[in-house]
Symmetry: C2
Subunit: 279 residues, 2 copies
């Protein structure tokens, strides 16, 4: 099991440059991939129980700098899930209608219903990240948002939503390598964006914004996990492991509930058949 | 390539009992599965181009009797896609709010945006199926709906939505076997429903309703495909094949568009770098 960098206590100051972007020394890629396949199967099973029992839902928040691998995590980890019960939502720049509401309005309508998994590619955290870095609202506004975020996530948790937030942590060097790689491959050139290079000029401001967001909004029921993301295979393993660990404790609850539902369904069917025989 | 039972001309009367529920004689399961894996890769590639180019969207409508395999198709075929760009929507009994709107209101809000794939597990067709069989609205109402459905799907097609509608065709015998199988497996007992057995009593009424829906709403731009669905492996192959065939003609268009986007992005990046050097 990989060491994890999970933060679940608000106010504990974190420093991203003290947290690794690389896999721990000696981690075997081959073993990690074998383990990921196992976790994928367990995740699929757990999701089936979540779906059937409809007692809880799962919200996965993915944040990270450009090229950090949000799309890659979705492809790999969500690929293990039954698409029937998964909603992937990407939050881009807000529309005019969204801007005319409070900042939680647009994400609230995409929270998962019971039985479902929602995966958010970016989220309400952008309102204390890009908004802060580029001064899109006055500081007096975005400073109030940490409290609102914690309250909102607590509301979800009280409604039996299991919340896990991932920061995909890549190094400055690795981001450069990935941006240049896109440029070399003519089939990927359409994914190039000057915006990505421009945002890179604000690296330190984003670091600061992420540190504060993670520190202030890490809570027991909605923890942040800082994922070493320079190696894609390790990043996927850490996310899958954290999700399996989040769901696994509920397995007996869901199984017992499904047993009860099964007994009820059998009894109803028996009654239906008895009625059909005597009619 | 399997023979297909695609209907794209309105008004041509079809009879479901003349259409196979079994794979054609001599079809090799092993070959079918190998072919499905190839199609899955092609589907993934095509979806990536669809997503990048954002010139079109894809709407997949899945209809069929209970146990016909709608969920199975979603799991298998959607499993080949990048979850980022897929929305699976299940339409159950309408809510009060939905009933207080016209019958297309609730589906319209789930049509795919450019670049996306929407997969509908049941759809607006329920309003000429279950509604007709159980007399939930007067015949004068549901009879008008075929025309509205054709108009609606034409609207989507004009907005560059590629529409494919699948009827998963299982036999009366195979449905019984599947319902009984659910009953035998204690881990699946919670999926049992008296409702499924009750609906089975209306088998012929549903046959008639499906025949009319398929006949009246088969159009060149929104064809119906009647899928032999007694064998799951064959059913998945037919759906995957039909989707690949629907998307494949667009490949050169999407590739050319992405090339142009790539050139534009490179030029912008070059200008950005030149400006950075001289500043």
């Amino acid at each position: 099991m990989p060491p994890t960098f999970a933060f679940d206590q608000p106010g504990v100051r974190i420093r991203l440059d003290e947290l690794p972007t690389d896999p721990p020394k000696g981690t075997s890629r081959k073993e990690a991939e074998a383990r990921l396949a196992e976790l994928g199967e367990e995740l699929f099973e757990l999701q089936d129980l979540l779906w059937g029992a409809r007692l809880h839902s799962l919200l996965v928040v993915l944040q990270g700098r450009d090229t950090a691998g949000k799309d890659g995590v979705i492809k790999t980890v969500a690929g293990y899930l039954n698409p029937r019960g998964v909603h992937v939502v990407s939050f881009g720049p807000p529309t005019q209608e969204e801007l005319e509401h409070d900042f939680l309005w647009r994400v609230h309508r995409h929270t998962p219903r019971k039985g479902e998994v929602a995966i958010w590619n970016r989220s309400h955290y952008e309102d204390v990240l890009v908004v802060r870095v580029h001064g899109l609202t006055p500081a007096s506004i975005w400073r109030e948002r940490y409290g609102h975020i914690c309250d909102f996530e607590e509301l979800l948790a009280e409604h039996d939503t299991i919340v896990r937030k991932f920061f995909l942590h890549i190094s400055h060097r690795e981001q450069q390598a990935r941006l240049l790689e896109r440029e070399r491959d003519p089939r990927k050139a359409w994914k190039l964006s000057v915006g990505d290079w421009r945002e890179r000029e604000h690296w330190d401001a984003y670091t600061e914004a992420y540190e504060e967001a993670i520190s202030r909004c890490a809570t027991p029921r909605a923890p942040w996990i800082v994922v070493p993301a320079d190696a894609k295979w390790y990043r996927n393993l850490v996310v899958a492991e954290a999700l399996v660990e989040a769901l696994r404790p509920y397995r007996p609850v869901w199984e017992a509930h499904l047993d009860a539902l099964g007994h009820k369904a059998r009894a109803e069917l028996a009654a239906y058949r008895a009625a059909a025989r005597t009619s």
